[in-house]
């Protein structure tokens, strides 16, 4: 009876957390992030194309790897959007919906995962509460995030896998192999992380798995079958291009400063391959940087400014206490927690970005768990070692710090993020596209310059994808159209995507030009020729729409 009552309270608490988490993740999620990113429109239009024709934008039938902008996108995020696009049409809401649903469902699913790992109700509830307000999780929940979908599948897969070990039923074996295999089709980092994780879990549970040999074989067989095309594609197919693109050896810092290319007549021991190993180790260790963890890891504000880390500052004492407890106490599945955390940083260390919060996203559950373990110890420590008055003071200070942190996060996310990172999310492109679509019939040609940027025209955008997206352009027509023009430019319908050279283009009649002030300098254009100016949230001029008289 007592257990039943306790279970009821846990359920209600969990439900409240899910509602709160859902609210934090969904509130105005079509307005913040301020615009659809390049990846989002590509995902969205390819899903629309699959819905309408069963083929991707290049006309490939139900592909397992979408060429998209040349970065070979994974299929699960795209196919998962198809139902919501069928229901609500091709728009911001429908493409962000699947991520939002999975993000909200992550709250109860993570709770089950934490229970499975620790078998402690208190630790699991604390960890789930931390997840509900986690800036890392909230950020990736509010737009199309293959990282989040992949992690959701990994968590489901591991829950089923651990149950397979514990209970030994066929169902768990099949379910875990399906979820874990699907996660590999969702995000690239999982292709390294999941096999390493499975291998580690195998090693850590070798004794139990020997007893469950039939289930283990079934698990391996299903995984191998589902992943066979992916393995082929990764090593011999188009996905290899993506791997080469992001490989750490192409890191600008490594090429320019570490390897100091091009150098000749280097002895074998000084070759760049050796240097690369140590460079990877440096990247790995750099993920333990407090800057990444507590004040700028999410890159929501300008470089070197105080933004939002992947954790809140108030989690710092929890994290430290949790790490100490992990080494000191005999915590259930301790080895799995440490292994998960350590191998979780490997994929990100092998790629060419500095501290990528997306590629390390799957360490989040373990960080939350360690923080929750630390929070429990922290609570016990304060209760045992301080007088009642001191306890009160400590709790007041701590609650103030929590409130302060959350308010700071609110300001950063709602005010500074749109101001400072609008350009990264291609702010303004939607407005230019909507203007061009509304006035399309007036012009023979509409020319979009793909280069943009406030400080310099260094951002290569993909305006054609935004046009296709917002025009709900018929995928069948798009697939069949000839898009490469004689002059080498790219276009469809009456849209042309090419660099604008105003010295020559200024004489072209019946043409609409859309570009940044770098390609359409206001001083060289007559006032009556400028039809519209589009500004970013921070007031900077992003686009000028011009038609020569």
């Amino acid at each position: 009876m007592k257990n039943l009552k306790k279970g009821k309270y846990v359920f209600i608490f969990l439900l409240l957390l899910t509602i709160l988490g859902g609210f934090l993740r969904s509130y105005k999620n079509t307005e913040n992030p301020i615009s659809l990113s390049i990846d989002e429109v590509s995902f969205g239009y390819n899903a629309y194309s699959i819905l309408k024709t069963g083929r991707d934008e290049y006309g490939k039938f139900l592909p397992l790897s979408f060429k998209s902008t040349g970065d070979y996108k994974n299929p699960v995020p795209i196919y998962s959007m198809v139902p919501s696009i069928a229901l609500f049409g091709l728009n911001e809401f429908s493409i962000r919906l699947p991520t939002l649903i999975l993000a909200t469902l992550s709250i109860p699913v993570f709770f089950l995962f934490f229970i499975e790992i620790t078998s402690s109700m208190a630790i699991s509830l604390i960890a789930t509460s931390l997840l509900t307000i986690s800036p890392w999780h909230i950020y990736y929940s509010r737009y199309v995030s293959d990282h989040l979908i992949a992690m959701f599948l990994v968590i489901l897969g591991v829950i089923c896998f651990l149950r397979m070990i514990r209970k030994g039923r066929w169902f768990w074996s099949v379910a875990s192999s399906i979820f874990l295999s699907l996660s590999l089709y969702t995000y690239y980092a999982e292709r390294l992380f999941v096999p390493l994780l499975i291998l580690s879990v195998f090693v850590l549970n070798i004794g139990v798995l020997k007893k469950q040999i039939k289930h283990t074989i079934l698990f391996t067989l299903i995984c191998s079958t589902i992943c066979a095309p992916l393995i082929f594609s990764t090593f011999f197919g188009p996905d290899r291009a993506r791997a080469q693109m992001t490989w750490v050896g192409n890191d600008v810092e490594f090429v320019r400063n570490v390897a100091v290319k091009p150098l000749q007549n280097i002895p074998a021991i000084g070759s760049e391959n050796f240097l690369l190993f140590y460079f990877v180790a440096r990247k790995y260790l750099n993920y333990f940087d407090p800057a990444f963890l507590f004040y700028s890891g999410l890159n929501l504000t300008k470089e070197d400014s105080y933004g939002l880390g992947v954790l809140y500052l108030f989690e710092l004492p929890f994290l430290i206490a949790g790490i100490i407890m992990l080494f000191k106490k005999n915590i259930r599945n301790k080895k799995l927690i440490i292994t998960w955390l350590l191998i979780g940083l490997i994929p990100a260390s092998l790629t060419n970005n500095e501290q990528h919060p997306g590629r390390t996203f799957f360490i989040l559950p373990m960080i939350l768990l360690i923080s929750a373990i630390g929070a429990m110890e922290f609570y016990k420590f304060i209760n045992n070692y301080f007088s009642r008055r001191l306890k009160k003071i400590i709790y007041i200070i701590f609650v103030s710090l929590v409130v302060f942190n959350l308010t700071q996060a609110l300001l950063i996310y709602t005010v500074h993020f749109p101001y400072q990172r609008g350009e990264d999310f291609m702010e303004g492109t939607k407005e230019t596209v909507l203007y061009s679509l509304a006035n399309k019939h007036k012009y023979k040609e509409i020319v979009f310059d793909p280069y943009r940027g406030i400080e310099a025209p260094y951002i290569v955008s993909i305006p054609h994808m935004y046009i296709l997206f917002y025009a709900n352009y018929d995928p069948k027509i798009y697939q069949e159209e000839t898009k490469m023009r004689v002059d080498g430019s790219f276009g469809f319908d009456n849209f042309i995507i090419r660099k604008i050279d105003w010295r020559e283009d200024r004489f072209k009649k019946d043409t609409l030009f859309i570009g940044s002030p770098w390609s359409l300098p206001e001083k060289d254009i007559k006032n009556e020729e400028i039809l519209k100016k589009i500004y970013l949230s921070n007031g900077a001029l992003a686009f000028v729409i011009v038609s020569p008289n």
Partner: protein, 310 residues
């Protein structure tokens, strides 16, 4: 035994001298070799050995001095005649004097703090409170919040005092980032890509650290306080963590690594320890060779690039 120990120390001193001469030969940081600073560095090495021998044991003292000898961190700073090498010498002598003459611990702590504060003040290095970048960033935040509905909250949350406090807190935390010490993340003297401490030493460092946390004698807790004082110059640096200033804690890091190595050696018969010891030797050995080649080939180019940018 004593004679053997002295010979080993002399051998380490020769390695140290040779390493510094190699660095100086290939990387012209200063116009001419500064033998006085190299001599001061050797004095530091001997002091590190004596102090750690007294605090822990002879072998760990010897290992610590070997680490001092082959570490690019100390070698580069000595070649560049960095002022913090002199401060380190002073503090080591000071610490040894305290040990010899059993001076009151409180006076010792007070004097250490005073010396460090005076030193960083002489070199006009309290840059954290006049960080224009931080002030601009706070002003920018305020300007942006001003235009939103959150203006009243912004007034409380986003003010320079709170941001300066956070800045100092983060600067403290930054000093504990492993990549600062075991990789080339924070560039030595602004240009170098040599690691301050070789990566492989992170394994014994972890062992040493765990041992230190577990078995640190309660009656010697006062030894921890100067450690935090020694971090102050780097904490208050504009480019925190600053390896030039962090060199003050180098002997402590070397001692932790050395005690970790000693722990691995003592437990060599256990497979795990033997494997980790061999792994450490393998990673460090390779990286030492790579670093030497790098010093001869790439570091001079990096220095030129750095000077060109300046």
């Amino acid at each position: 035994m004593i004679r053997m120990g002295s010979l080993q120390l002399i051998f380490i001193l020769l390695i140290s001298l040779l390493f510094r001469l190699v660095v100086n030969y290939f990387i012209p940081i200063t116009q001419q070799i500064n033998l006085f600073v190299i001599f001061i560095g050797m004095v530091n090495l001997i002091l590190v050995f004596i102090i750690i021998r007294r605090l822990i044991n002879f072998k760990v003292g010897l290992l610590s001095s070997l680490l001092y000898a082959i570490s690019p961190w100390t070698a580069y700073l000595e070649i560049a005649a960095n002022p913090y090498i002199f401060l380190l010498t002073f503090l080591l002598i000071f610490f040894l004097g305290i040990q010899f003459f059993s001076i009151n611990k409180k006076i010792y702590l007070l004097l250490t703090l005073l010396v460090i504060v005076v030193y960083i003040d002489i070199f006009n290095q309290f840059t954290v409170f006049s960080d224009i970048g931080l002030l601009n960033s706070v002003n920018e935040y305020r300007g942006e919040t001003n235009q939103s509905v959150f203006d009243p909250i912004g007034k409380i949350i986003e003010n320079k005092y709170i941001y300066f406090s956070e800045h100092i807190l983060f600067n403290v935390l930054k000093q504990f980032t492993p990549s600062t010490y075991f990789s080339n993340q924070a560039h030595l003297l602004g240009f170098s890509f040599s690691p301050p401490i070789y990566l492989g030493f992170i394994i014994p460092f972890m062992f040493g650290l765990i041992k230190l946390i577990k078995f640190f004698p309660k009656n010697r807790k006062y030894h921890l306080l100067p450690f935090f004082f020694l971090l102050l110059p780097s904490i208050f640096s504009k480019n925190s963590p600053d390896l030039s200033r962090l060199v003050l804690i180098a002997p402590i890091v070397f001692a932790i690594v050395a005690s970790g190595i000693w722990e691995l050696i003592l437990n060599y018969k256990r497979k795990k320890y033997a494997f980790l010891l061999l792994l450490t030797i393998f990673i460090v050995g390779i990286q030492f060779a790579i670093t030497l080649v790098d010093i001869a080939i790439r570091e001079p180019i990096r220095l030129q690039m750095f000077l060109g940018q300046k």
